[in-house]
């Protein structure tokens, strides 16, 4: 009896320890990546990295201002394409769709989410780049926007579904039509959740490289407007990291650190928005 309970206690402690070890190992991967990035890239983070264009090969220094602006522009285009499509489809799923169409839409969205990003890049190449005859910000933003749709769709659907039925009934009992109820009560009630979903989707696609390789391509210079090839941080990292020069490698590390910082800021901002909204709701 005593032996048995001793064994049970040991097993309990052992399993607890095992799960804890894996949990901490997972977290430490993030810290390793961060530490490595800071170690290699931290020393080159300076003002000129954010303000200057890349220097010609062989010259030291220079920055990635064009790629930082480029990433911001690409994300903006992606947002303009992905957010409306995702939100409207999410509203359809949560509020209007019947069983069969919902199953279909949801399943397709999950499949779209699983399409490799390079395939989405080829798709954008075929339907935007080829007809236009050149790489462009719009094509890159389109590819990224398509990737955002399923993420925003599913999060929008979930947050809308979490809005209590009593709120909808309250609005309808006052004579509001269904679309009016959704527009004035349901969506505002879920707004912070929907925004969270959008920000997380942005953070998720900010580092995508493959869809940009043959849509936005890259650019050594600033790209005015939206109709020309444009540099972006992920593609710069890719180009510089496989380049033959030592200072390119260092700049690639720095670009990685800046990109991670951008994603981190997006993430923290999301959480702050969400925390404040939910605190206000209590």
């Amino acid at each position: 009896m005593n032996l048995h309970s001793g064994w049970r206690k040991f097993l309990n402690a052992f399993m607890l320890g095992l799960t804890a070890i894996f949990a901490f190992a997972t977290v430490s991967v993030l810290f390793l990546i961060l530490g490595y990035l800071i170690y290699h890239g931290g020393k080159n983070v300076n003002w000129s990295f954010f303000t200057e264009l890349p220097k010609p090969v062989g010259e030291q220094g220079g920055g990635m201002a064009n790629a930082i602006v480029g990433t911001a522009k690409l994300l903006s285009v992606a947002l303009l394409i992905g957010a409306p499509a995702g939100i409207f489809s999410g509203v359809y799923l949560s509020e209007f769709g019947g069983k069969a169409p919902n199953f279909f839409v949801r399943y397709m969205a999950d499949l779209l989410n699983g399409v490799p990003s390079i395939v989405i890049g080829i798709f954008a190449y075929a339907i935007v780049v080829l007809p236009a005859g050149h790489f462009s910000t719009l094509a890159g933003g389109f590819a990224l926007g398509v990737m955002m749709i399923p993420i925003i769709l599913r999060s929008t659907e979930q947050f809308l579904k979490a809005v209590p039925r009593t709120l909808r009934e309250g609005a309808m009992a006052l004579g509001a039509s269904k679309w009016r109820t959704i527009l004035t009560v349901v969506v505002p009630a879920a707004a912070s959740g929907i925004i969270t979903g959008i920000m997380l989707a942005l953070a998720r696609i900010a580092g995508e490289t493959a869809p940009l390789l043959f849509t936005a391509f890259s650019n050594r210079y600033s790209s005015p407007g939206f109709n020309e090839p444009i540099a972006s941080l992920p593609v710069m990292i890719y180009t510089y990291a496989i380049g033959p020069y030592q200072d390119w490698h260092e700049q690639a590390w720095t670009a990685g650190l800046v990109l991670l910082g951008l994603v981190f800021v997006l993430n923290v901002a999301t959480r702050l928005v969400f925390a404040r909204k939910t605190a206000a709701a209590r």
Partner: protein, 279 residues
């Protein structure tokens, strides 16, 4: 004709002989009460399950009518039929006739109907908006944008909430306590000047003091509108209502003046229920 015979004329039961004419039915001059809703043979089913099996009942104007009965007896369903909120749930079928001032509610524009027949729910359900915007909501969706502040103040006063919130109309409604939120919901319903106010167990989530405030409020409101309240709480029905309908298993068992129903119920099932032997 006195109130008792009006009541009995419209119920689907054997007429009950009151015997003692000296028991006053309601504190209203006899002959002034008139039916606002005339409901006949109301059947409601969710999918294949019928929850109301043909209810006939008249709801009188400017009185408080309580609906009592055990859980699942169909009292909430009955209430929700009156402003067609049953239609919100998919697969609901409603048969029979409901006349509001002799107008068939099923042929009315549902927006107009719900404007005339307001509703307050079991749990306070303020919108995630400011106190002001909550009350103004019904006015805005009905296209009123002028003198909103007067209307909001008037409604909040009618709901006995004005003094507590007048300095903070632009605060979130979620900052209010549960009882305040429920009175806010009443104010929101009152803002469009409904003729009828339906309340679905409005006090079940509230403490006794707040409940007393809301009952007091109902008493004041009935001069300007007809009130139908579903309640689990028999003391509440006895305190706050003029007429009481007892429903059981989707059927109307007894409909009487509240005093009569709680003192000398005519159906043994009513007596069993109000004395706490089941339900």
């Amino acid at each position: 004709m006195n109130g008792a015979s009006i009541v009995q004329k419209h119920q689907n039961l054997e007429p009950v002989h009151l015997g003692q004419k000296d028991i006053p039915l309601v504190e209203l001059p006899i002959g002034t009460i008139k039916p606002q809703f005339k409901i006949s043979n109301l059947k409601v089913s969710y999918g294949a399950k019928e929850v109301l099996h043909g209810v006939d009942l008249d709801v009188f104007a400017n009185v408080v009518t309580a609906l009592i009965g055990p859980s699942g007896c169909g009292k909430s369903t009955f209430l929700r039929s009156l402003n067609r909120m049953t239609e919100v749930v998919r697969g609901t079928q409603v048969e029979g006739e409901i006349l509001l001032d002799n107008e068939n509610v099923f042929r009315m524009d549902v927006v107009k109907l719900r404007r005339r027949v307001g509703m307050v729910f079991q749990r306070p359900n303020p919108f995630p908006k400011s106190i002001f915007d909550n009350v103004a909501y019904g006015l805005r969706i009905n296209g009123h944008h002028d003198s909103l502040s007067e209307a909001v103040e008037h409604s909040l006063r009618r709901a006995a909430l004005w003094d507590e919130v007048k300095g903070q109309l632009h605060k979130s409604a979620y900052a209010l306590s549960g009882g305040q939120q429920q009175r806010l919901c009443i104010a929101r319903a009152l803002a469009v000047n409904p003729e009828v106010l339906l309340l679905d167990e409005p006090c079940s989530a509230l403490d006794p003091i707040t409940t007393a405030k809301i009952e007091e409020l109902l008493f004041q409101l009935k001069s300007s509108c007809t009130i139908v309240i579903v309640t689990h709480n028999m003391q509440q029905a006895a305190r706050a209502s003029d007429f009481t309908a007892f429903l059981l298993d989707g059927q109307l068992v007894e409909y009487q003046s509240t005093r009569k129903l709680f003192t000398t119920p005519s159906d043994p099932r009513t007596e069993a229920y109000i004395t706490g032997r089941f339900g």
